[in-house]
Symmetry: C2
Subunit: 227 residues, 2 copies
Amino acid sequence: MAAPPIPIVGGTGALGFGLALRWASAGAAVVIGSRRAESAEEAAQRLRDAVPGAVVEGVENAEAVTRGDIVVLSVPFRAQSENLTNLKGTLRAGQVLVDATVPLAAAVSGKATRLLGVPQGSAGEQAQEMAPEGVQVVSALHTVSAAKLAELDRTLDEDVLVAGDHAESKGRVAELIRLIPGLRPVDAGKLEAARLIEGITPLLISINARHRARAGIRIAGLEEPKW
Amino acid sequence: MAAPPIPIVGGTGALGFGLALRWASAGAAVVIGSRRAESAEEAAQRLRDAVPGAVVEGVENAEAVTRGDIVVLSVPFRAQSENLTNLKGTLRAGQVLVDATVPLAAAVSGKATRLLGVPQGSAGEQAQEMAPEGVQVVSALHTVSAAKLAELDRTLDEDVLVAGDHAESKGRVAELIRLIPGLRPVDAGKLEAARLIEGITPLLISINARHRARAGIRIAGLEEPKW
């Protein structure tokens, strides 16, 4: 039986589309979600052009999340809350929500090298608070460069820190991450670690600006994790 | 002319002593500071035993900081403020203070996988506020495992994120870091980035506990920095 498709809320954005490209290249089916069905379908067509044979469709976010068990939320922080409100009626118990949101100060016209304080502690914890009961949030995929994902001939070689309160959900998300060659999932603990992980992104933005790079993160001296 | 020695406030602690060992092994002169002169001298003797020919002395913290231009502050967060108060009369304008303090919740009997909120934003910014005028704080050396430093036959291979408001001071600290083989300094921006960098340590503590490792951090995909 084929694995269910991976719905990506905000799949027309740079990170969401980059992930869709990589997953489709790895043979996974993806569903690109967007606020407008036409934008989603347009992105799906771009993906088909880039990855011959890709199994992809583009639909509205609310429709997209019904198509798979593990839903990726990849939207700017300023739109995270609104998206979660809109999805309250469609996300269902038993689903896993992968939150990749980073509360950069850029969300309020500040610098992308600064992190906002989030009342719940982090964007990941906000997602858990706002998600319907029974939906388990896993925080991940904050530090991979969207631009690097989009260059399909570029080899990736970095880690993805994964945080969540439920080991099984984290393990399932780790499997999705491992589908993308060159990405290694690393278990970084409970969901509350999201506030520390989210802080690495503005650091990388600062480092990348200084060094004209698209660097990611690597946990040095860690043998292949148990996943 | 020989380079001035490197004073290490809290040089009898695990991180401070590990750094002293590595710098002494690299041929640098070090001054181990401690609250008690006897403890400092005892640590200096241990270092001489471990590194034949090491140029090292052990003295009280207040004496130690007078011996060099770049002073390393390596104390637990719960003692950082007291140490800085004690050093107000001895630190002098023109010196660089390398702050390696991490405000772990363990300082208040909490978990070492959690970060405390610091009124100034970070331990590094607290150090800058408390240091005498003209002393420039550079935040660095939070993520290197003390245990790994102490195993002199173990090869290091990781990055050290360096933050500070003064490029020249940062550059001088980067030079000290590069003295230790296997450590690469990476410019991570202004001192305010310390709040993000300090958060990586509790993350690593969590990852290390889960994976029985002593991992550090690496900026992946960053060519040799300009330093």
